[in-house]
Symmetry: C2
Subunit: 325 residues, 2 copies
């Protein structure tokens, strides 16, 4: 039986400006990227999000054609779809938010369809931590004992404005995926090794710290002697649009664990599986930034991914034999 | 026959403030760190630098006791030793220079002792590129055809103030080691993959870009299809003093290649050897930042290094077998 992955987050319109071009009101949102990334790995994906009256059927069809289960995509006839506009700086590491129109997201209360309740893996995209908890309340999991794995994203806004609610959610999270600035803010520790210790004590057994062009750090396993892993970022010459890279990472990370868990549920929580999941997430993220919005995810296939995974091996493998003295 | 490594640079007094403490007028300088790092690898090291009348014999003895050949350490009786004072910010990634007194360095013209002329590997610490070239003019190398390998450092100051002289030096350099800001400034390219292509076209066949806590990037081999390697940085909880990390990296990098070249000269220019050298340099640099000045290099031994090299393998090895789809 295939393990199902539930992607909870936003489905949105994004308007994006980068030094390489711009795009107006294209398909975006965390749930979109999470779902498309996990679908590329062949994992059954259920999507839970809300769109408004202005959301075109063509986008719905695009997601459906990739095999995303859209029973949980609610269309709110009383409002417009969540809209975000941003401008990236020349180095692509920083961006200004030009507009955030919550629209139908402002009143969204996710109610999972009956068929979603047995989801094994839950990906909580960046949302109000109260909403994230309410989703977890509903998931019964494959055996009625709750989800097998909860993967969660958050952002500075919630760390600053809703620390108590976030703390409650984090107690129920297995894997937290944040960027380095968020890890520092959440922990109050500038040093990332110390930050990881503080954050893991808040609940998540596994922590992934994304560092953009500098790769990603994984902390997992035994808390006293954690497994630390440093995944490289793929050295790209042309980064056209970083939007969605973090969500794509999450979809690839969780999707890889879903595939492993299908064969051997215990293996999916092994540090070695977590390391692989970070690399799969990084590899998928390295594709999505090559074009605007989710275009690259929509056109690529697993053979592209396979090739890039080989590149990641080549990129980071330390030649053995001569290093030791 | 052992291949000799020539370390050209500064021997200095450093006054350092970090959030973890401070140290006054301690032993420093690029040649000091390069020499001590390479000596830890057992490589014969010759040092070329100048000190002033105020330089204590105790420091000379410290270097001599580690087996550094000091015939090329000139003592200028008419002035004081080069002095640098700096203060590191809380995140240790940025520092303010509080004082730079060139003193005897201002008039230093290195003249290599006869016994140094057959040096195989030349490490040019950060100095005026004119001086760097004048050193290269003198080295005859083991077979009279010049040095087998020239490894060079530079900094923003020379990139901005002496671009022509630097360009001349770079034509004679095999491996350039700079940080990411320097690579961007030298190339005029914000993207590091593009920057590497521009810099390698200036002369250095191999380029290492140091990124501090984010590791190091290596570009080498074929120019059309370069070998790219990303070495992790060791995730340290306590960084006491970053001073000398870059010079220690260079000494470890060049020292490792010297060891490989001793057994097989052709192997030392192989991309696999370069990758290993980056990891050895990174490992040694991860020690030096654990204490003020070169203290850690002076007290550690090769078994400490061996252990940390194993950590680097664990830190970056992607588990095989399950990643490919």
């Amino acid at each position: 039986m295939s393990l199902s992955l539930l992607a909870v987050g936003t489905v949105a319109f994004d308007s994006i400006e980068t030094p390489f071009g711009s795009a107006e009101r294209i398909l975006g949102g965390s749930a979109t990227y999470i779902a498309l990334a996990a679908r590329l790995l062949g994992v059954p994906v259920r999507l839970c999000a809300v769109v408004g009256r202005d959301f075109p059927d063509a986008h719905v069809d695009e997601l459906a054609s990739r095999g995303v289960d859209l029973e949980g995509l609610v269309r709110d006839p009383d409002g417009d779809t969540f809209f975000w506009a941003g401008r990236y700086h020349f180095d692509l590491n920083n961006r200004d938010t030009l507009a955030t129109h919550l629209n139908v997201l402002a009143t969204f209360k996710p109610v999972l369809p009956e068929a979603y309740l047995d989801s094994a893996i839950v990906c909580l995209g960046n949302l109000d931590p109260v909403i994230q908890s309410e989703v977890l309340d509903q998931v019964k999991g494959p055996d009625g004992k709750g989800p097998a794995l909860v993967v969660c994203d958050t952002m500075n806004y919630w760390i600053g404005s809703a620390p108590e609610a976030l703390a409650e959610t984090l107690k129920r999270v297995d894997v937290l995926i944040v960027n380095d600035a968020e890890a520092r803010e959440l922990s109050g520790e500038p040093n990332l090794v110390r930050a990881a210790r503080v954050i893991r004590a808040m609940g998540p057994q596994t922590l992934v710290i994304k560092k953009g062009e500098h790769g990603a750090l994984l902390f997992c396993g035994d808390t006293a002697r954690p497994t630390v892993f440093m995944a490289p970022a793929y050295p790209l010459e042309d980064i056209h649009d970083p939007t969605g890279a973090g969500d794509t990472f999450m979809g690839g990370f969780a999707g890889h664990l879903a595939r492993i868990a299908e064969g051997d549920p215990a293996a999916a929580s092994d540090p070695e599986a977590m390391k692989q999941a970070v690399v799969v997430g990084s590899a998928l993220a390295s594709f999505v930034v090559e074009a605007f919005g989710p275009d690259r995810l929509l056109e690529m296939d697993v053979s592209d991914l396979d090739e890039r995974l080989s590149d990641f091996h080549r990129l980071s493998a330390i030649p053995a034999g001569l290093v030791a003295l």
